[in-house]
């Protein structure tokens, strides 16, 4: 027990401000999938129309790939990494090892967001939480409708931080990093990243 030094990880590792890339907005809500009422559903939207977006991803090499992994992989392959303009993520239920019903649920999440943004094959889906339980789609659907219906999208620091919170499971702090970079040509650009994970962590993605 002598190594137990309590440190305030939230204070140490969670930023208090940040600047974010142009043309992105994020939305979030507590859908009720998480039993404690915490944020558990997030959407990232590309709002830039000046040119088509591009997308890339790496996925688990676990033989039992969750429904959102298989579904997102298919979307990305069909779209050839172009015109992906939304990502919808839920926490609290991983929609993994859920068979055909789980595949349908992942597709419904995608279809709901595609409908909202008026585009086909434009959304990726991710889920995290308990394995082997079916998603409560009534709550997820209501949550997606709420995020879009109440225009909960924002591009400010708190919106980004809340999306980072909405994907957490056993995490003790949201993981949000944002940085500006300058290229030799003088072009400045921004990278913003979010991650979640605290257990079941030894990824080998490809």
């Amino acid at each position: 027990q002598r190594s137990k030094q309590l440190i305030d990880k939230y204070a140490l590792y969670v930023p208090k401000t940040g600047s974010f890339p142009k043309g992105f907005e994020v939305g979030y809500t507590a859908s009720g999938v998480k039993k404690n009422g915490s944020l558990d559903l997030g959407v990232i939207l590309n709002t830039n129309k000046s040119r088509p977006s591009t997308a890339a991803a790496v996925f688990t090499t676990n033989k039992f790939k969750a429904a959102p992994v298989l579904t997102s992989k298919k979307v990305l392959e069909t779209a050839r990494g172009k015109n992906i303009n939304a990502i919808v993520v839920n926490s609290g239920c991983a929609n993994s090892v859920t068979g055909d019903l789980g595949m349908k649920d992942a597709q419904v999440m995608i279809d709901l967001v595609n409908d909202k943004i008026g585009q086909k094959n434009s959304t990726l889906v991710m889920s995290t939480g308990v394995i082997g339980q079916r998603l409560q789609m009534d709550k997820i659907s209501t949550g997606i409708n709420k995020i879009f219906g109440e225009e909960k999208f924002g591009s400010d620091f708190n919106s980004w931080l809340n999306v980072a919170k909405s994907i957490c499971t056993t995490d003790t702090f949201p993981k949000l990093v944002t940085s500006r970079f300058k290229l030799p040509s003088g072009t400045e650009y921004t990278l913003t990243g979010m991650a979640k994970g605290a257990g079941m962590i030894c990824p080998n993605m490809a």
Partner: protein, 227 residues
């Protein structure tokens, strides 16, 4: 489960974007371990919307390599936060394997140390039980056995604060240091951040892995996760 997104306003051609993300992941998210378990849902996604008015970057662009390295460094920062939040963890440990014959074997050794429950529990207990590190190196499933020469290996604990001596040698050129300075070892192991350095002396390739200690709290959290 690991989930992550990286978004940018830079215009990047889709094939180039996938190459960047794959390169970055191999050196960041695929180099972390909390408990050695791979999820069914691990996903990292990257979106580039091109909101900045500049020429699209492809694999032939002069900026490609620089952006790739910036994305990699950025991904490492994000990946390290996951390890810092490892369930029940109290320590953040960098495992540096250098001078290996092959990059892949350096990574395999770093991963073997990072996943060893006995190494991780010793780190939690601040016990300089370096024999467990050697053990984990020894059973690593190397692609090329020539990557590991037990007569050339050097293993050290490295302090990450400014205290001296920074390096505490545990094995020097294959010779175990049986009378290590236990006081200094305890000082280094009491740090929240520390480093395990492995110099294989068989080549010039290097790999890094980031891991954490394993505590009682990990069992408490995972004994009733579903409820």
């Amino acid at each position: 489960t690991l989930l992550g997104f990286i978004v940018t306003d830079l215009p990047i051609e889709s094939k180039a974007l996938q190459k960047m993300l794959t390169f970055a992941t191999t050196r960041s998210f695929n180099c972390i371990s909390v408990d050695g378990d791979m999820s069914t849902n691990d996903t990292i996604c990257m979106l580039a919307n091109g909101a900045i008015d500049t020429k699209e970057i492809n694999e032939d662009s002069k900026d490609f390599e620089q952006v790739k390295l910036q994305v990699t460094e950025f991904a490492q920062r994000l990946a390290q936060l996951v390890v810092r939040d490892g369930e029940g963890s109290t320590k953040f440990v960098t495992v540096n394997v250098k001078n290996a014959l092959h990059f892949e074997d350096a990574k395999i050794i770093a991963e073997s140390i990072s996943n060893s429950m006995l190494v991780k529990t010793a780190l939690y207990g601040q016990d300089a039980n370096w024999g467990r590190i050697l053990c984990a190196i020894g059973y690593a499933k190397l692609n090329d056995l020539k990557s590991l020469d037990v007569n050339k290996i050097n293993v050290s604990f490295i302090a990450t604060d400014n205290s001296e001596p920074r390096e505490l040698k545990l094995v020097a050129n294959g010779v175990p240091q049986l009378e290590i300075d236990e006081t200094r070892a305890s000082e280094i192991l009491a740090l929240n951040d520390l480093e395990v350095s492995v110099d294989l002396g068989t080549g010039d390739q290097a790999a890094q892995f980031w891991t954490c200690d394993l505590s009682h709290e990990y069992v408490t959290i995972n004994g009733d996760y579903r409820s």
